[in-house]
């Protein structure tokens, strides 16, 4: 940090980064007070694509809200589908067939990989490296084709239903997923050679914008941001849901807390997700994909319920308040990106502007998820 940032001269100026700026990956504005190239103050300004999903939840049936959940964090839509169906199933006491649970986990993990791949390409692009984007898009394309054959859509999935799934996978899905695992395991060392070991890339990230574990706690940061700061917190292990306890996988944790640690966490997570998918395909039980007795109109008993799932960007939570009718009384969507971004102002103080862009990219934010 420069001395100027600690004790700014009287020549500070305000610079708006965004709302239309390629590095903010969406309509987000950051109001920066700069002293030369050093950040004195950074204040994110939100709300440019606020759609009031929570109010929409209050005026439609439980099932009709389902497509909305794919439009929050559109890069890991299946995790959000999963959180929403799980909280309603928890409230209404619906049990899910095992095959459906396995397929949920497999598709969610594939979605996590595709989300991390897009992030990887875009992140390196932010730092001036164009080539990796083309490689990650190529890999991601395989995944999108695979998920499209199952879910019917390529991005804003709406695949899960209360009590199970919309449809079963076909015979090509298993071999297709295995082929992808094989392909991706060959590609990961290539990515590490191409990106992780690149000296320019490393110097842009190593030791830059350290986020302490205490800061994560105070701001409620979760996901790769918290795990990059030495906190071994992953909802899949910490508060197991679905059939995650049946799987053997590790939670990557790095102590450094810098931008490089957040990058490495996601690279390791791709590997772990591949392991989960592989085990899921091995263990996939036969049977139905829908519970038998699911009421056509869901009316959960009065009360409030909470459900958290591990989305690609952290802990996504839903608090559902039911008054016993066919529409939710209140539906709170806890966005991981909002909490992860809220520490930006404090952590970016004193950084060089280009380092702040790298830091911002390493947080992996999806703006529609923040603005809801």
């Amino acid at each position: 940090m420069s001395d100027l940032a600690v004790d700014p001269s009287c020549e500070t100026f305000v610079l708006n980064m965004g709302p239309q700026h390629p590095a903010t990956h969406g309509a987000l504005r950051i109001k920066l007070v700069l002293d030369g190239e050093y950040i004195v103050e950074a204040e994110p300004v939100l709300g440019y694509i606020h759609r009031m999903h929570e109010k929409m939840g209050e005026n439609r049936s439980y099932l009709a809200f389902m497509p909305n959940t794919g439009r929050l964090d559109y890069l890991s839509a299946l995790s959000y589908n999963h959180g929403y169906v799980s909280v309603v199933e928890r409230a209404a006491g619906i049990a899910i067939p095992e095959r459906a649970e396995y397929l949920r986990v497999i598709t969610v993990e594939l979605n996590r990989i595709s989300s991390h791949l897009l992030w990887l390409g875009a992140f390196v692009l932010d730092l001036g490296g164009f080539t990796p984007l083309l490689y990650t898009m190529d890999d991601r394309e395989q995944l999108l084709d695979l998920l499209e054959s199952v879910t019917g859509s390529r991005l804003t999935y709406c695949y899960f239903r209360f009590g199970g799934l919309y449809n079963d996978v076909d015979d090509n899905f298993g071999p297709g997923a295995r082929a992808f695992i094989k392909r991706m395991r060959r590609r990961l060392p290539m990515y590490h050679k191409l990106i992780s070991k690149n000296v320019i890339f490393r110097q842009r990230l190593e030791g830059i914008a350290p986020v302490s574990a205490e800061m994560c706690r105070k701001y409620g940061a979760t996901g790769p941001v918290a795990r990059g700061s030495g906190i071994a917190y992953d909802v899949r292990k910490h508060e197991p849901y679905s059939v995650y306890p049946e799987f053997n996988f590790d939670i990557p944790v790095y102590e450094q807390g810098d931008s490089m640690a957040r990058y490495l966490i996601r690279m390791d997570e791709i590997e772990q997700s591949l392991r989960i998918v592989e085990q899921g395909l091995d263990k996939l039980p036969p049977g139905p994909i829908m519970a038998v007795k699911v009421p056509k109109i869901i009316k959960p008993p009065k009360g409030d319920y909470y459900m958290a799932v591990e989305a690609a960007r952290g802990s996504f939570g839903i608090r559902l308040v039911s008054d016993g009718s066919a529409t939710p009384y209140r539906l709170k969507l806890r966005s991981p990106c909002l909490s992860n971004l809220s520490l930006f102002g404090e952590a970016a103080r004193g950084l060089l502007l280009p380092d702040a862009v790298a830091f911002f990219g390493s947080l992996d934010l999806v703006i529609p998820d923040i603005d809801r």
């Binding site: 709300g47 009031m52 109010k55 409620g220 910490h238 409030d304 958290a308 809220s342």
Partner: protein
């Protein structure tokens, strides 16, 4: 046991009503109702025990006096006496990184005087969550550093999640 430690510490507050919940069916372990004035004290206890803040949200209980709402019916004896008019509820979700323990901290205030103290001095992360709650419900968090709209337009003077909101 984190749950035991935190429930004892919170129960020591004068207004606190601590209720243990079944995590499998509800999704949280402890539901703690406190009076608005004791919120900062409760947040301080949670902070000292290493909890992190997950979310803050409001619930509008308009019309509850006429027909009792969801949480009131089944937990009547654990709730502090309701205000004698319709109320807002604010729910703070806390969790612990090391030991799984979800705490839902609740407080109620009358709809006509929706003002409670802020906890943003204890948890800086609460700042945005409180601003959002102010946007959506018009609840005023006193001593909050900046309650300008977070997600709504900067000149918004409406609160869309109030049950009597008409667009």
């Amino acid at each position: 046991m984190k749950k035991l430690a935190i429930s004892q510490a919170l129960a020591a507050l004068a207004s606190a009503r601590v209720l243990e919940c079944d995590h499998a069916s509800r999704g949280f372990h402890l539901s703690v109702a406190v009076a608005p004035l004791e919120l900062p004290a409760a947040a301080k206890i949670l902070d000292q025990q290493g909890f992190f803040i997950e979310a803050i949200t409001g619930v509008d209980w308009l019309g509850e006096q006429a027909a009792p709402g969801p949480t009131v019916a089944d937990q009547a004896e654990h709730q502090p006496p309701l205000p004698s008019e319709d109320s807002f509820e604010v729910v703070y979700d806390f969790n612990h990184f090391a030991k799984l323990c979800r705490v839902a901290l609740r407080t109620r205030m009358p709809r006509s005087r929706p003002e409670i103290p802020t906890i943003s001095a204890i948890y800086p992360g609460a700042n945005w969550h409180e601003r959002e709650t102010h946007d959506f419900f018009g609840i005023i968090f006193s001593d909050h550093p900046d309650l300008s709209p977070l997600l709504l337009p900067e000149d918004a003077d409406f609160h869309p999640l109030c049950k009597d909101y008409k667009p």
